[in-house]
């Protein structure tokens, strides 16, 4: 009985607890909603209050000292956040230094630094940062009990957020902080430091990033290789001179990642401008043509073609030609891909030879490369397609013809006549015999010009599909012109053939 009474009171207590906790949850939701509402109202008010000051400061109408005095009125978290966001939104290469000085003056930098490095280290770090001291090349990670505690996310996340803010300072100021952040025990904080280094593109950070990359390559880093490589890829063509010493690194995987990073930087730059050898430092140009192309590690040779193609000169052409016949198929594959550039039209015969490569991936790449060369490349491709007995290559070429929209060019050639028409017709016939008739059938149904339609109908009749015969029925019933006549005669021939086959 006593047990039951205890149980009853326990249940009541539990119920009361649940109801209270639910009510607390509800109150917390309202509290958060109200808090957020107030925060955003304060932030909006701060935005409108400081817009003028910040635009005057950005336009150089007021100096740093005056801006600090005016912006120092911001006291709440919402106001601080508003000022920080507005200043960072206006930041560019010209005013980054002045904006950073404002952050120093307002005490924001000190606050962020305390959060990441603690009160004791902050003073020295700020002094070093103000002196624009160059960061030392050390990426040793802090160890010990305190460091282990610091790895726990609940402590690491606020540090990472504060370091993120420090990383947004002008590169010469930020460098000290983010280099120091590389010693942090938490990979989350170090990842932020590495990303900030990439964003700031400070040349002094390149050795640090390569140190991190080496650790990642040797599997001694808890920050991923991709994160470090992403930071290195942020650098620009102007910084490539700093990469040269690492091209002869004793670790072959390290050499590969350096070459690959240079490749990514070049590809990024080439989206906005056509590169040539003058855009590269002479040492890098020489290193690629003389060392990388002969590297003992095939992956390095494979990736270097994608950089060399941007040199666009005779030496580059010779180097690519040599790489196209490399003993390693992976090198040949990437070299074929690198040659997809009309500057290297001279290499078309070399690429045609790659259509009969022993490795299917190389053949596939050669097909794509040739298709990208315009009429000269596609005509070579067609000629090879018509003559080859290799089913695999034929499949690859037919795939490329369909996917890259070359069928439209073929149909145009059928209309124009001459040598191109004969070539296009031969290609169409081979496609049909391979069972790749869908696109041509659609062309017959959709075209308006009679001549190419009739020619395509002849080609498709070599191996008529059900879809094609259905299209012919429609044309035969609706078209009173030469195309309709042709459809009717072909259908009749098909019927006779079917009857003949049935009799036999």
């Amino acid at each position: 009985m006593l047990f039951i009474e205890d149980l009853a009171s326990l249940v009541l207590w539990l119920l009361a607890t649940v109801v209270s906790v639910n009510l607390l949850f509800l109150m917390f939701i309202f509290y958060r909603r109200l808090g957020r509402k107030r925060y955003y109202e304060d932030k909006d008010a701060a935005r409108s209050r400081y817009t003028r000051v910040i635009s005057e400061f950005v336009d150089n109408e007021i100096n740093v000292e005056r801006a600090i005095v005016l912006l120092d009125e911001a006291s709440t978290r919402a106001e601080h956040d508003a000022v920080q966001e507005m200043l960072l939104a206006q930041e560019d290469a010209n005013n980054a230094e002045r904006i950073s000085q404002v952050f120093f003056g307002l005490g924001y930098v000190e606050r962020w630094s305390r959060q990441v490095f603690g009160r004791r280290r902050t003073k020295a770090l700020i002094e070093r940062s103000m002196r624009r001291e160059k960061a030392s090349i050390s990426t040793t990670v802090d160890r010990g009990v305190l460091a282990s505690i610091g790895k726990i996310r609940v402590f690491a996340v606020p540090r990472a957020m504060a370091l993120e803010a420090l990383g947004r300072l002008a590169p010469e100021y930020a460098q000290v902080f983010i280099a120091e952040g590389l010693h942090d025990a938490s990979p989350e904080v170090r990842r932020v430091a590495i990303a900030a280094m990439g964003r700031n593109r400070h040349p002094a950070a390149i050795p640090l990033l390569f140190e991190e990359l080496l650790k990642a390559v040797e599997m001694k880093n808890d920050v991923s290789l991709r994160s470090t490589k992403s930071a290195l890829v942020c650098y620009t063509m102007e910084d490539l001179g700093h990469f040269v010493p690492y091209l002869s690194h004793p670790n072959r995987r390290m050499r590969f990642f350096v070459v690959d990073t240079v490749r990514e930087i070049c590809n990024k730059a080439s989206r906005n401008m056509l590169l040539n050898k003058n855009d590269f430092p002479q040492e890098l140009y020489d290193a690629f043509l003389e060392s990388a192309t002969r590297d003992e590690f095939a992956d390095v040779r494979a990736r270097c073609g994608a950089v060399i193609k941007h040199f666009r000169d005779k030496r580059a052409l010779a180097a690519l030609r040599a790489l196209l016949t490399d003993e390693n198929d992976f090198v040949r594959l990437h070299s074929v891909r690198a040659c997809q550039d009309r500057y290297y039209a001279e290499l078309v015969p070399d690429m045609v030879r790659r259509l009969s490569d022993t490795r299917w991936r190389v053949r596939e790449a050669a097909v794509k490369a040739l298709a990208s060369f315009g009429t000269s490349g596609s005509n070579e491709l067609y000629k090879y397609f018509i003559n080859t007995k290799d089913q695999y290559v034929s499949e690859q070429i037919s795939e490329e013809i369909q996917r890259s929209g070359l069928t439209a060019d073929m149909v145009a050639a059928l209309a124009h006549g001459g040598e191109d028409r004969d070539l296009a017709m031969a290609v169409a016939k081979k496609l049909v015999l391979m069972g790749k008739a869908s696109l041509l059938t659609a062309a017959v149904a959709g075209l308006t010009q009679p001549e190419p339609r009739i020619l395509l109908m002849d080609a498709l009749m070599l191996a008529p599909t059900e879809e094609f015969l259905a299209v012919m029925e429609v044309i035969a019933n609706n078209d009173g012109g030469p195309v309709g006549d042709k459809a009717r005669s072909l259908l009749q021939a098909a019927e006779q053939r079917a009857v003949g086959a049935g009799t036999n």
Binding site: N221, E399, A442
Partner: protein, 477 residues
Amino acid sequence: MHSAVLHFFDYVNAIILVYFLVTNVVYTVLMVFSLYTVSMHAKSAAHGAYADLLESPVTPPVALIVPAHNEEDAIVQTVMSLLEIQYPEKEVIVVDDGSTDGTVDKLVQKFHLLRMDLIYRPQATCKPVFAFYFNPERPELILISKENGGKADALNAGINMARSPYFCTVDADSIIEPQALLRLMAPVVESTVNTIVSGGVVRIANGCTLRNGRIVDVNLPKTWLERCQVVEYIRTFLFGRPGWNFLNATFICSGAFCLLHRETVLEAGGFSRDTVTEDIDIIATLHRFCKKNHRQYRMVFTTDPICWTEAPHTVGMLARQRRRWQLGLMQTVMKHNDMIFSPRYGMMGLASMPFHAYVEALGCVIEAFGTILIPFTFLVGAMPFSLFLLLMFLAFGYGTLLSVGSVLLEETTLRRYPKVRDVLMLVLFAMIENVGYRQMVTLFRAQGVIQYFTGLNKWELVVHKGFESRVLVEDEV
């Protein structure tokens, strides 16, 4: 005789009590872990450099595979949302799994696709493929038309066609938030070991307004059934899965939105067609494959990549869906039963598999039995009032606490419901879904278990309303 019956009731009630106690203790532990991981992730996501990821050439390409069977009402919106996703390099592969409606025609018309005869290498086994549709001006989209073979079969066809190192499974009735794929990929890029699975959160789109394949106005659905499902989804995705992920014992990643490493999946044999929930099965299969081959791997679950999907709007459809899920769960735990309590699989074998087998898969039978037996034994006087209250508390009160807690977590981290009215409604439904809705779902789940033991292993089709009724403006592509 009378005393024997009473003893039997006592015995059964004790089992039910222990079941509820164990379940609630595990849920409490998961809740604590989830609170920690979800709130930490929400904080760190605030400084997450997704723009860097978007611009970085190092970000791996992804194939978005959309299996579709009779999805003419939703497919165009889904594909539009996928094409609009912010991601550096992606391919969208729609696999029409033998639809008998206008799924293929709608896609062909909308995206001006042309039928082509493309190269297809069947590495993962699946039913024959009929046709490929492609538009050279929109090279990121491919439509595959194949013989009906089920979702796993369609996914295998998509994997065969994909060229990217990662693929993401997406349901045909789902809308993915523009940054969701980047957020799903972020832990993969940041990982030092091969991340083979990255799962995200699924939310219910019923009641929301769409424009050009995007959710533009988030609202709660109108009916009680859909609202209860909203709360249920929030609880599952914010309290259950992050907790298991914290323990490195991910058991489920929703197939509606899940990123997988293509090569590992192919090596493991692709999606299996012997269960009706291929998304649960593939996770266990991958765990097994990687452990067996001594591979270093990781599976992650993140709470901010969000995919919006349609929930069943009638009790009948909900019943079909839950029976299928339960049947699939049963099939998976029985298929991989040697992993249960096996130390070789770490926390997966020692905690996650046993919990999912005994509590999630079989526990619903005890729960359903208890739902009927407890009031009965109380009414016939075979159970003291206090014990009855305790069981009721464990069944309803604690559930309320978990549901309201998950709404609170949603409100403090993701905040996808901006209107105060919606949040209050969510709190209200978090309390009332424990009475009625939960018991109803338990009964459906118990039916699923019975289906398994009676050999009725069929896929029950769930028909959705489709997105078209909720589309504001549909721009020309």
